[in-house]
């Protein structure tokens, strides 16, 4: 018998605090596996967000730094510029990256900072109890939009991947999901490519991962996976939005 799957060395032995079935855990594993496979755990520095993933600094088995809310790309900029040989990534949710931290994300991309941003989009504020996020879908209920998001009043969801893909400093932007074993493996290949392009020094890379929030969506974990496919995919289509390696070829 040969082991075909076991916990990655890219994660510590700490038990994740996430709600049952939250796909944050899957995304953590993919980042950890990628760092392990690229053999960069010894020179990787992660920047943790504010939000559900705030304890990410306890979970990744590499150097970690906590940032103020939304400021992870700014902190990562400083780390990468001081330690250019290191592999620097941020791990951010949609409230962190697309709301309070949108300026840092956009300007890091504009400056072409050689960092990798893992953007976990679950269309709601999780940790604070299910408030409406910039990525909340039209009609989706949240504690601050109890009748559902009304586009006339609150606007429509923001698409970060499409937006950042218009910026010249961005080297690789892709949106993936983690709702099936096949899409999980696809997401891992994408995350690996983003890290490889960062190491190659090509510029800003971001992988947006469509994620779930069973607790605040009021669904079971399995129902949440279906909800992503039925409701989030039409608004947030998967795909590569920017790839400088393709443009050069």
């Amino acid at each position: 018998m040969a082991i075909v799957y076991q916990k990655t060395k890219g994660l510590t032995d700490a038990e994740l605090h996430y709600c049952p079935g939250c796909t944050h855990g899957i995304v953590h594993k993919l980042v950890g596996e990628t760092l392990e496979e690229l053999d960069v755990l010894g020179k990787a520095v992660g920047v943790a967000p504010v939000g559900c993933a705030v304890f990410a600094y306890d979970y990744f088995n590499c150097d970690m730094q906590e940032a103020a809310h939304g400021r992870a790309p700014a902190v990562a900029t400083g780390i990468k510029r001081v330690l250019p040989q290191h592999v620097v990534f941020t791990y951010q949710g949609d409230g962190d990256l697309a709301a309070i931290g949108i300026a840092e994300a956009v300007h890091s991309a504009m400056r072409g900072e050689k960092i990798t941003v893992i953007f976990v989009n679950n269309a709601i504020y999780g940790m604070t109890g299910g408030q409406m996020a910039p990525t909340t879908l039209v009609g989706q209920k949240a504690t601050t939009a109890p009748l559902g998001r009304d586009p006339g009043h609150y606007g429509s969801p923001i698409r970060m991947s499409e937006m950042l893909a218009t910026i010249d400093g961005a080297a690789y932007i892709e949106r993936v999901m983690v709702t099936t074993p096949a899409s999980v493996m696809k997401a891992k290949r994408s995350i690996k490519k983003a890290f490889e392009l960062q190491i190659a020094g090509l510029g800003f890379t971001m992988i947006e991962v469509l994620s779930t929030c069973p607790t605040n969506w009021g669904l079971t974990p399995v129902e949440s996976l279906e909800w992503v496919k039925e409701n989030m995919l039409p608004v947030f289509p998967l795909g590569v939005y920017r790839d400088v390696t393709k443009e050069e070829a």
């Binding site: 018998m1 040969a2 082991i3 075909v4 799957y5 076991q6 916990k7 990655t8 994660l11 038990e15 994740l16 996430y18 709600c19 049952p20 079935g21 939250c22 796909t23 944050h24 855990g25 899957i26 953590h28 594993k29 099936t180 074993p181 999980v184 493996m185 069973p214 079971t220 974990p221 399995v222 996976l225």
Partner: protein, 70 residues
């Protein structure tokens, strides 16, 4: 191809994502047992039906599952 799955059952939160993706449908929630976290963990009785595809392990958010294959 025969597979063998081990669960670190005290880490299991009973989210059932592994149950949902298991092709031979042999994983189930053990409602007669409660683990250290207070959840019903998953279990497999018919291990001989396991193919070792590791779908369960890839979907497990809490790295509960180790998969071996012959």
């Amino acid at each position: 191809m025969a597979g063998y799955v081990r669960f670190r059952e005290d880490l299991c939160k009973g989210c059932e994502l592994c149950v949902y993706v298991c092709p031979p449908r042999i994983i189930y929630l053990d409602r007669d047992y409660t683990n250290r976290k207070g959840y019903h963990p998953v279990r497999i009785d018919e291990m001989e039906k396991c193919t070792g595809c590791a779908h369960c392990a890839r979907m497990c958010p809490d790295s509960v599952i180790t998969v071996e294959r012959e």
